[in-house]
Symmetry: C2
Subunit: 237 residues, 2 copies
DNA sequence: CGGGACTTTGAGCAAATTCAACCATTGTGG
DNA sequence: CCACAATGGTTGAATTTGCTCAAAGTCCCG
């Protein structure tokens, strides 16, 4: 695992691109102990498994830029991705001693890294931080449960539509270009997120294109054409 | 929806069978505002849908006795159960305004009910309560994500084994009889939890019995015979 | 421009679903 | 107390969806 720790300096936070959407929003520049004094910025190249399931928890992470997958490997090679991490997302379970999930960089990822020890100290001294983490856990829980419906009850076509709309809404909320929706992850990652195989992902996307619901524009971009059809496939309630 | 509100009185908490395993553990009998002064005990008969998805959140619940399912209905009748509630479990999303999930009593269920308004007041005055809720959200999140692996990547046989072991471990932790494991929910509920149909659930249980892995003892009890085989089917990491 | 990884497409197959019938248990009314 | 309806569970046959295996195509990136 190659990592480039850029360094740890409080001033850095002031210029952090992810600050406004991270757990640290509004908590930078407070009297010590403070998140900004214990963080280190790190960049990992695409493909890096920067946290391995089962490993003792040494660090918690906040994503500054890029995209990562939260995933689990079964003994026989099957994989399940529970979600993707984007700018501002937090990775790590403050109450656990071991990582239950791996994290793998899909694109190059810039991370803000806190040691378990230091983070706990700041956490104990900063009630707002705990509240922030609770809120995030609630959001993550809602997302995970929505995904249960998708995995348990939706067809391949519905799964793909839901996935594309998820990325679409995420881009919209982040103020990025949302219509030719950017899909940074591979077909394998999509398959392991949706509980399908790469072949089914590929076939289903082709079908949706043939039906004029979407248009594939290269590997990593999908134009959403028929929003009504997509909405109907997403359904979900 | 028939409900019998037994009444609200602080003394009641002292004798609550679920206190030690609930969010209120150690928080009873404090100066007001206190959970014990705002709660009302309610009993709903088996089959009752006591919270409906999409409804404005009026109450939060803590389970005192019985078993309930947390579920979502899709427009065309498909159902997904995200989990089951037992003694001590909390139901409700403090940050939301609408229930994203329904709750249905599987057995008769005794509930401790808090109004949204009162609960918030106690929550603001009781930092330990928020910490407790955060911890629960974390546990629930871990459980939901484990369930993602089950739904996304496991076979029917593995799903049933995992489900039985889940009930088994739960009974063990609760100090109840864990080997002929008690299964209070119907085949339909099991199916909607595991992302299968009732027929597949039934067939798979029969198969496991034929293979001497389990023995069905009436509808609601399953004896676990071959723990090694079960553990291997659960696998999960 | 060529190599390698990723993606798409095709054919056959398997797991789980659907549809249908049957069985078991329970509760009710004659 | 028994007949019988109702509910829930099991079993079977046919079908479907998505998977496996195999081959061909495409897109990067050096």
């Amino acid at each position: 695992m190659r990592e480039a720790v850029v360094g740890s300096s409080p001033e850095r936070c002031a210029y952090c691109a992810a600050q406004r959407v991270s757990i640290c929003d509004g908590l930078v520049g407070r009297p010590a102990p403070c998140l900004s004094t214990i963080s280190a910025t790190t960049t990992v190249p695409a493909g890096t498994l920067f946290v391995e399931q089962g490993a003792k928890i040494e660090h918690f992470y906040s994503i500054i830029a890029g995209c990562a997958a939260v995933l689990r490997h079964l003994a026989d090679g099957r994989r399940q991705i529970s979600g993707f991490l984007f700018q501002g997302d937090f990775f790590g379970a403050p109450f656990d001693t071991e990582h239950a999930w791996s994290a793998e960089a899909i694109t190059d990822v810039t991370l803000c890294r806190f040691t378990r020890h230091d983070f706990k100290i700041v956490l104990d001294a900063t009630p707002q931080l705990e509240a922030r983490l609770y809120q995030r856990a609630s959001t993550d829980l809602a997302a995970a449960r929505d995904q249960l419906v998708l995995l348990g009850r939706k067809s391949a076509r519905e799964k793909l539509a839901s996935f594309l709309m998820l990325l679409h809404r995420h881009a919209e909320r982040g103020g990025r270009v949302a219509n030719p929706v950017h899909v940074p992850m591979s077909r394998l990652d999509i398959a392991d997120f949706l509980g399908l195989t790469i072949e089914t992902v590929s076939r289903t996307l082709t079908q949706l294109q043939r039906d004029r619901v979407i248009a594939l524009e290269g590997r990593a971009h999908v134009r959403l054409l028929d929003h009504a059809a997509l909405d109907q496939l997403v359904d979900a309630v």
